[in-house]
Amino acid sequence: MSDVIVKTTNLTKIFPVKKGIFRGSKGGIYAVHDVNLEIPEGKIFGLVGESGSGKTTIGNLLVRLIEPTRGRIQLNGQDIFDLKKSEEIHFRRKVQMIFQDPYESLNPRLTVYETVAEPLIIQEKRSVHGNEKDVLYALESAGLTPPQDFLYRYPHELSGGQRQRVAIARALIIRPRFVVADEPVSMLDVSIRISVLNLMLGLKDKFGLTYLFITHDLSIARYMCDWLIVMYQGKIVESGSTEEVIQHPLHPYTSALISAVPIPDPTIKRRRVELSEAMEDTRKPPLRCRFYPKCERKSPMCEQEYPGFQDKGHTHFVACHGV
């Protein structure tokens, strides 16, 4: 069993909704509520959900871009929000992020060299010059060959796939342990996606990385991830090894998601999912199951209390009364 590298306990993030004349907070949106994760080293954890599920918020929390309202996040046993200033920079060395938009994640006024060298400059207090060797190695590892050709190019001279590779080179140049990838290929052309995904898989083995792979695309999640966590409106509804969850989904939301994926095979006629349009108000704390308005299997108990996690065989967990 691998060591747990990242652990969250009761992680909660409520975004305040400003109301009233004096703009005081009156409640908020429960973007993430009571999320408990344990990500073992060397694995690719998939965080799957639609917009509003809270998956991006969790990504931002794990890299300390935002602070949680409640709960803890631990990296190798150490609470990441309880760090002294000097320890903070060490944290930044171990955790990196790859963003969704390749067109926005690179500073348009910096060359590829400056962008990729920056983490080194910050972490190791180097000067701007003299980092060519490290940058070239990072670019080559990210599949940009020959790397010299890319050194002094500007982002607007590169294609989407190339920019994303630059972003990957930048994220890996300081040898992080844990990388959060937030929809890394959803804005890339289809023919490029596979090569970038395969690159990420290769780099995981080469550098011994652990990934949190955030996506709304279940097919890609299945391709990449060892373990899937399905989120709905701020809560984890199902969690388990990828094949378990995909082949035997237990939560009605997971089943709906899987059934809704279009199948590129004209001989198979997929049934339409037709979920109810009713939505739960995420400004209220989850006192009942969030999926209640849409669920076809609901029972009175579902409205009274939020379902806790049930262990369905150590590699499969689900939060649902109807299982």
């Binding site: 955790v95 992020m97 500073n107």
Partner: protein, 297 residues
């Protein structure tokens, strides 16, 4: 292994491209160059014969009133027999000095405040923006006139200081708005995730991306300064020891030569309009290049 050299993509390249693509921009630059040459040539003209050509004290011994253009005085003389052309050249110097100094001051202050306000937000932002509002609500021309009257000192540098210290609010507002949106862009978030300090982010990531906008607002600041100083001069509140274009108009007007000595009245008036316009045209032609660039270069 040959490592290629860095290519130009800086502000200079941007400006050059913007101006050269727009006909109006070229006209603007041309006018600025003409006046620039005039400003540079000024001391040489004076040195031809300082007793005659000094804009303030040089008097033609043969002339005792305002006379029309002649060979020795291409634009004629003013009511004291001073050479108008020499005054005009000196006025160019003043206009550039005042314009660019005020432009630089207002832009630097405005950009700095805009960056800090927009990046740090919260209490800092509220405070700075209230100060901005206060300065914005003070009408600079009456304020200047008041200061000049109260202190009975009509120095050109007082004018420059006041204009510079009151002309920054709009730039601050615009830069703040730009900063607010830039700080949310993924490349800024990425820098933060890598451990960049706030100042590093402001100086390396945000400032260069607002620089084109800064430059645009500087051209507006220069225009504003030239016109305001000229207005002050015409009203008689500018520095009387300096033959700025505004003062030239004031002398022409107060000695009753308006419309009677066109060779005296038109050159400074025309110069004020043209120089102000030229900076505006440069700004206008840059805007096309700058605005889409800010979104997606």
């Amino acid at each position: 292994m040959r490592i290629p050299t860095k290519r130009k993509f800086g502000l200079a390249h941007l400006l050059f491209k913007g101006i050269s693509q727009e006909a109006l921009g070229k006209i603007g630059i041309a006018i600025i160059i003409i006046f620039g040459v005039m400003a540079l040539v000024s001391p040489f003209v004076i040195n031809i014969d300082p007793d005659v050509y000094d804009p303030l004290i040089g008097v033609d011994p043969l002339i005792f009133s305002s006379q029309g253009p002649t060979l020795t005085h291409p634009l004629g003389t003013d009511h004291l027999g001073r050479d108008v052309f020499s005054q005009l050249l000196k006025g160019s110097q003043i206009a550039f000095l005042v314009g660019i100094t005020v432009g630089l001051m207002a832009t630097l202050i405005g950009t700095a405040i805009g960056l800090i306000s927009g990046y740090f937000r919260g209490v800092t932002d509220s405070l700075l923006m209230r100060v901005t509002d206060i300065i914005l609500s003070i009408p600079s021309l009456p304020l200047l006139i008041m200061i000049l009257c109260v202190f009975e000192h009509r120095g050109i540098w007082v004018i420059v200081m006041v204009l510079g210290l009151t002309g920054w609010p709009i730039t601050a507002r615009v830069i703040r708005s730009q900063t607010l949106s830039l700080r949310e862009r993924p490349f800024v978030k990425s820098a933060r995730v890598s451990g960049a300090s706030d100042w590093r982010i402001i100086l390396i990531h945000i400032a260069p991306n607002v620089l084109p906008l800064t430059f645009l607002y500087m051209t507006i600041g220069v225009t504003y300064a030239i016109l305001t100083e000229a207005g002050l001069g015409f009203l008689g509140f500018s520095d009387p020891t300096i033959s700025s274009w505004g003062m030239m108009l004031q002398w022409c007007f107060s000695t009753g030569h308006t419309f009677k000595a066109l060779y005296w009245m038109i050159p400074p008036g025309l110069s004020i309009s043209l120089l102000a316009l030229s900076f505006y045209l440069v700004g206008y032609s840059l805007e096309k290049e700058i605005n889409p660039r800010l979104r997606e270069p």
